[in-house]
């Protein structure tokens, strides 16, 4: 047992062979066969390790390279393309830390900075939905903690197979349960996200978790081990065999040399109470000025933290791996390096501060152990009971891994897809048009895709910590940062696999535009972007084409909207057999709200307010929810992207909120105006009477972008109209709020009670 706060010297337990593959062995037996392929390395990559070291790697070194050069850690297939985010980044003076750090940090003024990031946990959530999703939350929270920030909220972007599929019945409740368990126990509000269904996610659900944290700019921490002589302290849970199989491997029983049982791929189990202690402990260490550098332990565990910290500091590091406190005494060096045990952090501390650090850790019941020290050797050296088992240049593992320019080719099938125009789909017409339009609205409102997500979101604590201003079902999550000034931040995530399937470049820009619009609808000024790029196998040229188009679309889009990408995550190999998921980049946008007391909700609350439709409506049904649900159709072109219009629209929304001209703003996206009106009525509990200014089916169900509905505060109509005119934003009066029905004049009316019943029962009917 490790004494909390004490240092631990681990004697080799009986039964564990002390004999490990040492650096001397590697030199003496250059031709020993090593299971590099089983570890996921190619022959070329294995040869490259040999060339770097001038000898074959030891088993422990091979473990480090195999995880650090994995797609997940090295971004080897995506790195070349991701450079566009920096190259095309718009000029900004708010970015304090950007791509390459654990998370991006933006200055939001009044002496505050905010850090946020979204990351995937797709595969673990399929294997074991509850723990997979729970540890996804834990992992992203530690990323935010590693920047020196207090985590203040989380969000989740979830995609599953068809809602009525048996496996969705297994996966969805587990994922939602895991997120609520971890987040609720940890005491973080869950303020938004997405829930979508599509057959392409049946064997590969998407679970993307976002966390946001707040810090003072001067408290920013970087992952750098500086100052030779400084001590390396491992904080948090003891290390077990968790997640070693996640690196795809150790399937080989001969690997590691600890005999049978050396390989135990096992599910990671999250412990939110330990995470809470870790958060409070780290924040106290930061505020006491006791930490020189810090890194969370996520994928690739100790291997990742030690290589990235020493590479980040341009230093070396000496680590005694046998000092890592273990939950399972039979683990050897390779397994310790690859373990993904949860709730661990690594801190760099000056020798004089070790005692106070250990004492603060003891106070929080957080085990803490000095496992090594920073050196000026430029080498990462590790020993196992005194014998050298690792001796590598840290940047060769952390930064200088292989980079691939994988072939990308637009599949010929895109042409047929594009020519399958959704405009040809039959729309309600003739004498039965009115009842058909009504039926189509109810189909959307009562579907799993369009239905009320409360069954999910009510399992999350949305208001703990007391600073949540807006959460689901509003367009964006809005948090108060500073009670005195009302300073706040808004966050929204969006993605649309259907649009991206039709055109990954435009589809990604539409996801960006929607998140941007959602943030602006709350009254916040969009400031920065994070992204989680979910794709199939990069070894498939068609997938690689989708990926390159999506990255190019996002980089170009961010440039035009003037919001930089601050960081993110790439998740490849999301496929079932040879079939990839639809390309699904999820884009998160963060905005600053100058005064959350002037927030704009998405529901109609005020009666007799003029409803104004902002933006142009065209007959755009390609990829729409209506085409998908009503006709099972996915083809043609996604809606046109107009980022200049999005920017003007956001300017109007932010100014309208500041001047308190509007009582409601709700963005138009899936399901078009029909869904937007239904949601605004149900969220606010107030009906509306609307007159469509043109073709009914087009105005109800088209998904033209850059559109929002607002309810103007009575008396502010003129000022609002002038604001729109000044910014060149088309504004069409379409009706009034009030009453207890959603009425489309001349066509149909639906009592809110009927609408609420359909909308509210969609998910409970499926998931109980």
């Amino acid at each position: 047992m490790t004494e909390p706060g004490g240092t631990t010297r681990v004697a080799a337990p009986p039964g564990v062979p002390l004999r490990q593959d040492t650096v001397a062995d590697a030199t003496a037996t250059p031709d020993r066969e090593q299971p590099y392929a089983a570890l996921g390395l190619t022959a070329d990559e294995y040869a490259r390790i040999g060339a770097t070291l001038g000898r074959r790697p030891t088993d422990a070194e091979l473990a480090i390279y195999s995880v650090m050069w994995s797609e997940h850690c090295s971004y080897k297939s995506s790195r070349k393309h991701l450079r566009q985010f920096a190259a095309k980044a718009p000029a900004t003076d708010v970015l304090l830390a950007g791509i390459g750090q654990n998370a991006g940090v933006v200055d939001v003024g009044h002496g505050y900075a905010v850090t946020f990031k979204i990351e995937s946990h797709n595969h673990p959530s399929y294997v074991e939905p509850f723990q997979g999703a729970a540890t996804g939350v834990g992992g992203i929270v530690r990323d935010i903690l590693a920047m020196g920030a207090r985590p203040v909220a989380v969000m989740d972007s979830l995609r599953f197979g068809p809602a009525d599929a048996p496996d969705t019945q297994r996966v969805l409740p587990g994922v939602v349960g895991g997120i609520s368990f971890y987040g609720n126990c940890l005491g973080l509000p869950n303020i938004g996200g997405e829930l979508a269904f599509d057959p392409c996610y049946l064997g590969n659900p998407l679970v993307n978790a976002l966390c946001v944290g707040v810090l003072r700019p001067e408290d920013l921490k970087l992952a750098a081990a500086t100052g030779p002589g400084n001590q390396v302290v491992l904080l948090g849970s003891r290390t077990g065999p968790d997640g070693i199989g996640g690196a795809s491997v150790l399937a080989s029983a001969s690997f590691g040399g600890s005999g049978e049982g050396a390989k135990r791929p096992s599910v990671q189990v999250g412990d939110p109470f330990m995470e809470k202690l870790l958060v409070e402990c780290c924040l106290e260490l930061y505020h006491a000025g006791l930490v020189v550098g810090v890194q969370d332990l996520g994928a690739a565990g100790v291997a990742c933290a030690t290589t990235e910290l020493s590479a980040g500091g341009g230093t070396g590091m000496r680590v005694a791996l046998d000092r890592v406190p273990l939950r399972d005494a039979s683990l050897g060096p390779a397994e310790i390096l690859m373990s993904e045990s949860q709730e661990r952090m690594m801190a760099i501390v000056t020798p004089a501060n070790v005692a106070p650090v250990l004492s603060i850790c003891a106070k929080w019941d957080v085990p803490a152990t000095v496992i090594g020290e920073v050196t000026d050797s430029g080498r990462l050296e590790m020993t196992w009971h005194g014998a050298p088992v690792v001796d590598i240049p840290p940047s060769s593992a952390a930064n200088d891994g292989p980079v691939y320019d994988r072939p990308a080719r637009r599949p010929d099938s895109q042409d047929a897809l594009a020519s399958d125009d959704a405009g040809r789909l039959p729309r309600p017409a003739g004498p039965a048009a009115a009842s058909a339009l009504r039926a189509d609205l109810l189909l959307l409102v009562g579907s799993a895709e369009g239905g009320d997500k409360a069954w999910v979101t009510e399992q999350y604590d949305r208001y703990v910590r007391g600073d949540t201003v807006l959460a689901m079902p509003h367009d964006a999550g809005l948090l108060r940062i500073d009670a005195e000034t009302g300073l706040g931040v808004a966050l929204a995530t969006d993605g649309n696999g259907r649009y991206c399937h039709l055109d990954p470049y435009a589809g990604t820009q539409l996801a960006l535009a929607e998140a941007h619009r959602n943030v602006a609808a709350s009254g916040a000024r969009p400031l920065a972007v994070t992204n989680c790029l979910n794709f199939g196998s990069p070894e498939d040229p068609a997938v690689m084409w989708q990926f390159t188009e999506a990255v190019r679309g996002l980089a170009d889009g961010c440039q035009q909207l003037g919001v930089p990408v601050t960081g993110g995550n790439v998740s490849f190999y999301n496929q079932t057999g040879p079939t990839a998921i639809r390309p699904t980049p999820v884009v998160g946008v963060l905005g600053v709200h100058d005064d959350v007391r002037r927030r704009v909700p998405s529901g109609f609350g005020l009666p007799d307010a003029a409803i104004v439709l902002l933006g142009h409506t065209r007959a755009e049904f390609g990829g729409s929810l209506w085409a998908w649900l009503r006709h099972g159709h996915l083809g043609g072109r996604p809606p046109a992207v107009d980022l200049a219009a999005e920017r003007s629209l956001a300017d109007v929304l932010v100014a309208a909120a500041a001047e308190q001209l509007v009582a409601t703003a709700h963005d138009l996206s899936d399901g078009g105006l029909a869904m937007a009106l239904a949601e605004a009525c149900l969220t606010g509990g107030t009906g509306c009477a609307v007159t469509l200014p043109g073709d009914a089916a087009t105005f109800l169900f088209s998904e033209s972008a850059a559109r929002v509905i607002v309810a103007v505060r009575p008396g502010s109509e003129l000022a609002f109209r002038q604001l729109c005119a000044t910014n060149g934003v088309p504004a069409t009066d379409i009706g009034q709020t009030g009453g207890t029905a959603l009425e489309i004049a001349g066509w149909f009316s639906v009592p809110l009670a009927e609408l609420a019943d359909l909308h509210g029962s969609a998910l409970p009917a499926l998931f109980g």
Partner: protein, 77 residues
């Protein structure tokens, strides 16, 4: 009536935070010699007519245990 006992435990390699929490409570309560605790579940199942252990095992795998992270054993009570 015949009955069975089903014991469900996390697999040995799976992290057991509840067990760890109990172990540290033991230390606080003056049992420093407790080295570790693993926590599980025990079900007692009565059957109205004879059933094979195999059938009860099927039930355990379907409902009582999560075979991804847990293991179980079935015994006649």
């Amino acid at each position: 009536m015949p009955s069975f006992v089903v014991n469900v435990m996390l697999k040995p390699e799976i992290h057991d935070p509840q067990g760890d929490a109990i172990a540290s409570a033991c230390h606080r309560l003056g049992f420093p010699q407790v080295a570790s605790v693993r926590q599980g579940k025990r079900f007692v199942i009565e059957v109205s007519e004879p059933a094979s252990e195999q059938r009860i095992a099927e039930l355990a795998a379907e409902l009582l245990a999560n075979p991804v992270i847990e293991e179980f054993s079935v015994h006649p009570a």
